[in-house]
Symmetry: D2
Subunit: 365 residues, 4 copies
């Protein structure tokens, strides 16, 4: 059973290869009456695409989205929303030398082991290009979340060893889009950039960490016992290329704390205008989720990305026939994809929260 | 849409509350002809249950499993396998003082926010008691995996700040069951025990880290793009009570590495008797998964558990009506649940791998 | 991928064999706060069980339901509702002579072809006994539907060639439970009974037709394009043992009509207190569903049941080894199961409507 | 939870409205290595499209399929296969007079009741145009089934009151494509055509019946207890626009038979080259399925279609505001869609069988 669909009620199916005719997706389960401006989706896509700065790969894809269905007079109709992004700037010949090579730390070997052969052009379906469809669908999810005032913000908190050490406050968030690193602390962004530029001259690459904050999620989202909110967030995040770890709230550091320190003492329990009770705890080590269900406080989590596997150095490896070969480092490639992954993380988070917002409706009768 | 089912082809649905009549589960999708000895499942359950040592809660549940269906002449028939564990040693009255209290860092508030009310007896459905059903189902999954020679081993790698610092080798694994901490290094186990005993006298609790190793998984398991093997493992693990983080392969540390260090250079590409090609890389930083698909090398991951939320100290909190109350620390509770979580982690890993083993069959035609 | 789960939001998983320890089920997705009296479920089960009259098999199963979870203080909690019915009155030895036989028009051959072997005792999982779990779950669904005033009534409209020829009016429905045939026309019920008694003396069996009426379904239920309301009803009904056909509204007869006759001219379009518009058509040939979505008018459909395959006559057949054998007609068996299938049809209809009622909630945001 | 996806392992999601930019679909779960010639899919589509003869609507859609993904070097890769059919020959203005009208026996009222508003242009998503995506996906499914030698053939067995009365033999099937009625008996086809032409002059329409035969299905497909093969076929068929009934094997007529007549006595039980046992029964009243699992004999079923709802006569009806209006009969419309539905029935049958063929693989381990 294949795995190209994500979500249960708000559900995305993606398709397409890096160098096929197009990539795209179908969103099923979007409620009717949501305004879906194509321009907003395009803008989200533009944040993800390569060629935005010297930090990232100079491939110049325009990534123009075409909305094919499910929208009438600018609004969702309740029917599936299909969209398409044509692949333009590809030169299949570029990849002929990789046809039989198993590149280190790429999916070449595993894809071949599973399917018997693979579309080798630019990584085919295993290329991060597939995530453009996630960003488009995430934009639609965000338009749904806007109705409930839910906002999602992600940023780069480390690049290789260069990490934010101070606390990130809400007022720092406005800086995220002000630099190509998507880092809320401009001075750290500078350090990150310097590190990336040094690696570039060395033909090397790096990974990094993204932090994501989800605000204004109402208490009550998440489905015990298997579809806990953090479980679905973890799955969403680990399904993104290059992600190696996920932690929410106190995370790994929390495992070393004592219960008496870690317990989120309730400081306030108030009731809002709609009659919903609101929780405020001392530290929110819970990360906004208890027992798999949102508390109403901020949800936050962190993701580790491995270094980019394509380096500009020669590497020994094997081909399909089992022969040793030398893989030459050449072409256009990112030193660090973490800044470009920020909108992907936001998109996947939006898909999870939108799905759980709708799933929670099924409790009412 | 509720979330009490896990898996797609090998699929578990669990039910039951901590202090209801029983907990249990239904496994659907187990192929026919697998030997299912009740004694083996019972033995797995015995590893999880409380009351095994002075480290963990003295509650003396016998947790006797009853297999209700799907087995004939000792073998699975292809029909659903339902099983039941009666709740015996519960004294509902014990929990009356908690009826309206929102205990800090427990699911009391969120469960009430979501469902309007809750079964407050011993945590109801949010109790870790539900995981006994996972262990039983995981045992069935393991019996299936045995046919392919796949083995799963988890252990405690830290308790609070006390952590294994050396490399854990295959020969260390035999020590895991030799101590109540399920730690492969006996001397570290001693330190962990001392730390737990000190916390006990302080009425405090701690968290910890579990490492899990999956051996002999064939190359090719995992379904791109959303149901990547690591994505389903992450979801499985984050669905376990108290888990705050997941990392596989190089994990968070990998995010600080350079591509040239991190890349898993292929050292060998051989072919086994069945014609499958086998990979051996220098470091396996990939953690046995590339592009969401198993490589055939060892899969390994780490999980962070938060400290137990029930402490033997008085804590201020709120009740349902919004009144401040003082919660007294009393009763029988674990200082550290991490050793008891080892079989749960193994069970969830077995469910994921069994599911993907069967999902992968759908590629053949 | 096995098929023991029905529904998407209101979801039933059943388990158990005719002569195993027990049969039962798990209902996941029942919203919290619904009163679930065990006595009501028991009463529904009592309608289905054998031994009610001389029409049906004299097997005396008491079929006592035990509710295991998901109910607290008499109300659903939102957690899965598991239930169990122990098998009591079975004598496994009774079936030894059938161990290797492939009985004509039974599932013996196909079950063996699929799974390699089978639990031959009383049909194992392919026995109609499994439907007791459907009736129990359907009773829970009906308790949910009661909140919306939705009612479901099924009756026997033919037994073999003996059929109701008059129109069945709402006032006839009160007669259904007044006779063992569950036929709303007492004089036809007499004829049916006479026919069955004649067949009994001949050692023969018969089939029949059930009609089902669903009243007060609000307009708007059903999910185009694949999960049309009639599509899910058809699946539900064809999943019942012995059902060979399904038609709704004008059905097969409608295929011979002209558009000008068949079109349901709208006679009235009014608005109810809640602001919902109500449709009234001249003939409701649509059967209460247009474009896969309920119109708000009565939903009605008919089901064909084949004759009982176990007859009290000797039949030639084959065993597993391919040898010709003679199967002797003996034991306790129904001449006609159609009256006993009435509560099963109602239960499956309730499951479908409850599921679609909850699915429809996902459109609101 | 929306319903635009069909199948579990071999899974189709469709999208698109009659007068939007395009319709299309995504097939997920097609195994790798299947030859997928675009020309074959196009040919299947051509059988469904309007404008083929004077029997059906003269709308001249070219319905050119574009395959977007999942195919490399002419073969499926295991990745999702997305395809697109642009809408060309639409004049949205044509439908302005229908904007607020609730046409009798159309989905206008129900679609509005469910979603609040609707894309009224040509029926929007409720148009039968959506079925073109099913035909394309069914063609892919058929290419998969070819590997197992499974063939699917449907034909028109009645148009209004004009019905085939003789037995249809295998040798008659070659006549199906020889006439525009898709009727295997040429002389009956003539009568059907005459009937349709008379209705045309009267501005009236008719329904009809399609029979479908599936040959060479191996024994063992179908998943008890809910996903019985006939249950999934029934759902598939009732999800097709205008279908009002489904019966398989002996169907409704079987309900009037005696067990002694109806029982399928086994005439032969042989073993084929692969070691599979083959069944041959006297009458195959079972329709090739027992206990929800295929027997290996021919599967056959019949479907009732209601008359086309758009007639060329004036009809009184209501608009959205509740005003009585007169709907004029004008435009281009089919008198009888049943011949055009033949490839849709074949496509849906192919999707069901392909899905169950792959589902059955999950039993092997």
């Amino acid at each position: 059973m294949a795995g190209n669909t994500f979500g249960t009620v708000f559900r995305l199916t993606t398709f397409g290869e890096s160098h096929g005719a197009a990539i795209g997706g179908v969103v099923d389960g979007c409620p009717p009456g949501i305004q879906i401006p194509a321009a907003y989706i395009q803008q989200c896509l533009d944040k993800r695409r390569p060629g935005q700065s010297d930090v990232v790969s100079p491939r110049q894809e325009s990534d123009i989205i075409e909305l094919l269905s499910g929208i009438f007079d600018g609004k969702s109709t309740g029917a599936p929303i299909a969209f398409l992004i044509r692949n333009k700037d590809h030169k299949p010949g570029d990849y002929d030398h990789l046809k039989d090579a198993f590149r280190p730390s790429h999916a070449d070997f595993t894809w071949t082991a599973k399917f018997g052969f693979r579309d080798h052009r630019g990584g085919g379906r295993s290329s991060a290009r597939e995530t453009a469809a996630r960003v488009a669908a995430g934009a639609i999810a965000q338009l749904l979340l806007n109705r409930s005032g839910i906002s999602i913000t992600a940023w780069v908190s480390s690049v290789g060893p260069v990490a934010i050490k101070k606390v990130v406050t809400v007022s720092d968030l406005k800086n995220i889009d002000a630099n190509s690193l998507r880092c809320p602390h401009p001075e750290i962004a500078e350090e990150m950039l310097a590190y990336i530029e040094r690696l570039k001259t060395e033909g090397d690459t790096t990974g990094g960490i993204i932090t994501c904050l989800i605000q204004n999620v109402p208490a009550g989202l998440g489905e015990p016992v298997f579809d806990k909110l953090q479980a679905d967030l973890a799955k969403a995040m680990l399904s993104i290329n290059a992600v190696k770890g996920f932690e929410y709230g106190s995370g790994f550091a929390g495992s070393a704390m004592k219960g008496s320190e870690h317990n989120d003492l309730i400081e306030q329990l108030s009731v809002d205008k709609t009659g919903k009770s609101l929780l405020k705890t001392r530290n929110n080590y819970a990360g906004g989720i208890l027992g798999g269900i949102s508390t109403g406080e901020d949800i936050y989590f962190r993701l580790a990305f491995k270094p980019v596997a394509t380096i500009m150095r020669d590497q020994e490896t094997f081909d399909k026939a089992g022969n040793k070969i030398v893989l030459q480092g050449k072409g256009r490639h990112d030193v660090c994809v973490v800044p470009r992954a920020v909108p992907i993380v936001e998109a996947m988070a939006a898909l999870v929260v939108a799905d759980h917002l709708l799933r929670n409706k099924c409790l009412e009768v």
